[in-house]
Symmetry: C2
Subunit: 288 residues, 2 copies
């Protein structure tokens, strides 16, 4: 049985439907039902139910966006850093293999050699490498809590999207915002991410840290072109002139925009399609 | 009524006996009795009991020393950073004034102008200014959670000591360790700290951040001389040749050694005696 923590969230609910569709026994936990954030409660549950694998899709992301994390720092820190630390302890004590949904938001920009950041690079948008958003700081600290963890995957997600309308979907967001910031980013197609991360466990690739983004990078301007090509909107998009103008007028905390290298997971035998293909495919499906 | 959180701890128990000795109504809370680390539980308690002032002396320090924090990062982060954030929220919601026991361990060394670090200086031994111990990182993050908090004192304690034998007392530690590291430090006489911090509230000095150390600084070598003068031990103390040797042979994580400037609290009308006087007085009392 596969257990999903944070099963009512954007990512967790997709794991649940993916596993159900494939007919794999799974159980979704939400904190309202079982307070898995309490160490003893979760440890007891693990000993009782003995899941084969646990996926931690719980975390604090901030609604409607990352700015909200600046306003509820205690719960952001709790959900993104303390919680993975406690899950690690409980999973190590029961020898339960597990995977953690982390974030690529711990990086800014791309390395000078012009490829993406790899799993060997230290986060450069974190408490230890300021400035950063509070959200990114807590996610990087969450990864730090898992360093050296036994039987543990850490999977970096970055700007999730797919064809389904959702206020957490990057493409939906682009369609809704009045003004956009043109930046270059790696993206994770959510269904691709879910399938690829679960494949890590199924294929028994080595435990550890993986960037799980579709290969390549996109600029906001490029995605807006694809949105128009797909006939999704007739509106004229307007752009902030600079990140500085964006921060002055719209953002409370700096955003991470970054390019990640996903060759580690691909080389380990888990394929991911190029970001342009995933993106245009989603837009086509949204238009139909 | 004054409420003390962490009332069974080294600092909390001293607040409790100080207030009781003075005949001031107070209530000590420990998490075993009331889980004040749970936001709703604590909020309900505040609404019910309406304390005039709350002192948060709860925190995760690591036993026997700061190295233990590297092994239980989740609870260290929870106790030192998430907890103050939650207490802030509950106190702000109920308009309860309060004080937080922070730590001077968020600094290293002394500023180049040769005086101590002030409350205007940014911590230089923290996640945002690495390297640091995990403990110091969480204490600095705890202060960050309280930035801009309403009706809130943040009081930095640094290497507490007094005349009472305790494995948390700096002087007791010096007497017990096989080898010492000669560093320069500010210290807080525990009873002076408790009296001075409570005086902040009684005298209604402005809320905010205060270094609460006895003025001046000591070196380990100097304190060892005073220990010998007081006739507390006949043993020959031996010293590590360098911090590097200490880290290789004894320490798991770097220690903060620093000098803090306590003139802000003194200028606000709360006196503190010089560190040499406090230290030699404690040693004399230990010897009797």
């Amino acid at each position: 049985m596969i257990a999903i923590l944070g099963a009512t969230g954007y990512v967790g609910s997709h794991y649940l439907s993916y596993l159900r569709t494939r007919g794999i026994a799974c159980e979704g936990l939400s904190r309202a039902e079982l307070d898995y954030a309490d160490f003893s409660t979760f440890l007891g549950w693990l000993k009782d139910r003995r899941p084969d694998f646990v996926i931690n899709a719980a975390g604090y992301t901030g609604k409607p966006n990352v700015d909200a994390c600046e306003l509820n720092k205690a719960e952001c820190l709790f959900g993104n850093a303390v919680l993975p630390g406690r899950i690690r302890q409980a999973c190590e004590e029961t020898k339960t293999p597990w995977g953690h949904v982390s974030s690529g938001c711990v990086f800014q920009g791309r390395p000078s050699d012009n490829l993406g950041w790899t799993e060997d690079d230290q986060p450069n948008f974190s408490f230890r490498s300021p400035p950063c958003s509070f959200y990114s700081g807590t996610k990087a600290l969450g990864e730090e809590m898992l360093r050296g963890a036994a039987n543990c995957y850490v999977w970096r997600l970055r700007v999730p999207f797919n064809h389904e309308d959702s206020n957490r979907n990057y493409l939906t967001k682009l369609l809704q915002y009045d003004r956009l910031l043109d930046v270059e980013n790696s993206l994770s197609h959510l269904d691709d991410y879910v399938a690829a991360t679960f494949a890590c466990w199924e294929k028994q690739i080595p435990f550890g840290l993986y960037n799980v983004v579709n290969p390549g990078a996109v600029t906001t301007l490029q995605v807006v072109e694809w949105i128009k090509e797909a006939g999704l909107t007739a509106k004229e998009f307007s752009f902030f002139e600079s990140e500085r103008e964006f921060m002055q007028e719209a953002g409370r905390t700096p955003r991470s925009s970054c390019v990640l290298d996903s060759s580690k997971i691909i080389d380990a035998g888990v394929p991911l399609r190029p970001v342009e293909e995933a993106c245009r495919d989603s837009l086509r499906r949204m238009a139909n």
